[in-house]
Point group: C2
Chain length 138, copies 2
Amino acid sequence: MVTATNNVTKRERDCLVLIGEKSDSRFPMRLHEIAENMRVSAPTAFSVVKRLMFKGLADSRDGMIMLTESGIETTKRILMVHRTYESLFCQSGVSEDVACLEASDIDFILPIENAKLVLKRIDSPSNCPHGKPISTVQ
Amino acid sequence: MVTATNNVTKRERDCLVLIGEKSDSRFPMRLHEIAENMRVSAPTAFSVVKRLMFKGLADSRDGMIMLTESGIETTKRILMVHRTYESLFCQSGVSEDVACLEASDIDFILPIENAKLVLKRIDSPSNCPHGKPISTVQ
DNA sequence: ACCATACGTTAGTATCATTCTAATGTTATT
DNA sequence: AATAACATTAGAATGATACTAACGTATGGT
């Protein structure tokens, strides 16, 4: 059975992955950092973060923004899917940069169940082209 | 070099593929048919078709809607990408129906150049799981 | 204590895709 | 001529995305 896709848009996905990769509990992100990284104005970043908070994926305290448990899980799923298709693209002969970009366009759309199957089909690499682990957890 | 992605939204993609598969020069589609197939009201279908016309992908004459040359090309590219990923999913163990649905979610986003490479990586099947040809033309 | 700087937040606006219902044309068939 | 079938326009709503300008708040230096 295929689980419903992550209910996030591309921008929300970008924001989620950004926070997931650039922060941890000791160093949460500031709104300005997010805005700069996403190359949008602070109010725009703020509205994306607000949507993430509304969806229970992010949380903010004293201007520090961090992911919730649910947000961390969602991000992990997105990254697993990302690295799977990124690996497929690279194995096919696409450059690392392009592979990463294209994977980013679909990793929040495609369900993790199928990514797991695809991963097997492409000989179960344990790391993405950048060397990051393709965790099969969850 | 990677060509810019087809500049269409999901709805426009659905409409494009619908017209591309259900019509030909002798039997163009009526708006009502499109609306029924897309399960939206006639005005909604109309607005999608209008956007396709604005983008130079469709044309209408006497209420008959058909694709332009550019629309036919775009649809072909989308279908090639569709069938490639559909094949990948099926080879990986995903059911035909699910494979088709998921392929529909990404076939208008991913460029044909990379689909061609992926197709080779998955042993160059010449037909999609439904038996339709994966044309490598264009 | 005061001011400036840095930052978050709100207000207001705009665009685009998507959707609907209700109303209005238009055409063709009876 | 009337009706039916269809296309089209009008009007409205929502949600994502984006901006600038303004406002609030807190911190650090003078």
